[in-house]
Symmetry: C2
Subunit: 247 residues, 2 copies
């Protein structure tokens, strides 16, 4: 048996999220079906760094699986791509140590969230950008974001649907970058709770728009009350950008 | 009656082309259905600058129609957008002269064609870029493109399915621009035949790749034989960019 570590990108538009569901097309099911074809009908289970929700994209999702196949490593890339649909792309595939685990070994993750500004929605970006046509103060958003850095209980920024008991996470950095008619949010942390990035972005945008004060975030965090935070920004603006492991 | 001139963008991915067909979703049918709603069930026919094929996009398609409605011009934009699907966007809507015609009054048109290069297809651009992962000489393509400028019989660069007798057209400019991992072709002309841009791009790419000589284009043009030209580049890389009228 070999343990294979694989990095993929996917366009979340036509997926019902990453994790296998009773209904709807999922990234995990497509990959496991593809692997089953390569393994002549044997079921192969994959273990990912974490799930992503409906409509959420990935540039660098990572998963591992074990295989008895003796395919040379350089052929794995094409072999796997051949059995995957057009909206999943193999970025890198390597042999990992036997004890590597794509979820438990995560050191940090980066998510990026993209907002389209301006008067009118650009239909060519409609599946990849959150259209937010309001005047925004980036300066006030940066102030608010800085209050979220470091280790906090993020209960206020977490969907009630989470299955995680421990809501303490560490955010290492939040960068807010202005492009021509876009805003890009970059979050790096040791891990993120369900909807956490999307609620952070929704809340920061409300600060940017002047609907709340940048200092307000401190009270929202300490309240541990989801109702105090802002709206959940839609999934289609979010990209799981990179998953970092030791070495 | 007022004559309305409207500029729209559409994402061709999920359309069976512009023109109404017995089967499949079309841009024209969606717009006429929307206008029918605004006109309380009356049929309104639209006249576009020309059709676009399946998968082809538009940034600046233009059409006109006549309406008895007394909607103030500033409200037309939102009124029409409201009855259109998410993959058609109203860019501009104005009142035109009674004798304006979106097809007959065209002075020139600009099409742009986009190619993605590199080792691997970028799934986030898969509906908007032609993936062509070969080494290319832009210099040789520019030489070949220059032979196509001016007035020629473009029979060699036209689909047999055309309904046009006269195959003489004038190309005013062809620009080939290199971006990071993309090539952009810009064509301005008085009009283009069916598949003409796509066959030109396919042929130019074959020149760029070294499969044909840049001088070869001269013989292809004068042969008036479609078999002599290159492959038809796929529709999803093509955008109807702009339609120009007098004033």
């Amino acid at each position: 048996m070999k343990r294979i570590k694989c990095k993929i990108a996917y366009d979340g538009t036509f997926f019902n999220g990453f994790q296998i569901q009773p209904k709807g097309r999922t990234v995990q099911a497509e990959i496991e079906n593809g692997l089953k074809k390569l393994h002549k009908g044997s079921e192969i289970k994959i273990y990912a760094s974490g799930r992503t929700d409906t409509l959420v994209h990935a540039k660098g999702q990572v998963f591992h699986f074990d295989t008895p196949l003796q395919i040379p490593l350089e052929r794995w890339h094409n072999a796997l791509q051949t059995v995957l649909p057009a909206d999943i792309s193999v970025i890198e595939i390597i042999e990992a140590n036997d004890d590597f685990h794509a979820r438990f070994d995560v050191v940090s993750k980066e998510y990026r969230y993209f907002v389209q500004r301006g008067r009118r929605i650009d239909i060519f970006r409609r599946h990849y950008r959150y259209f937010y046509p309001y005047q925004i103060s980036v300066e006030n958003m940066v102030k608010a974001a800085n209050h979220c850095l470091g280790t906090h209980d993020f209960t206020s920024f977490c969907s009630a649907k989470t299955d995680k008991e421990d809501k303490v996470r560490t955010i290492y950095s939040i960068d807010i970058i202005e492009h021509e008619d876009e805003l890009e949010f970059r979050f790096v942390g040791d891990g993120f709770l369900r909807n956490m990035i999307r609620i952070l972005v929704g809340t920061l945008l409300e600060v940017g728009r002047g609907r709340r004060n940048s200092e307000d975030i401190v009270a929202v965090l300490s309240s541990k009350d989801r109702e105090r935070a802002g709206h959940t920004a839609p999934g289609h603006g979010l990209f799981l950008w990179q998953v970092n492991y030791n070495n």
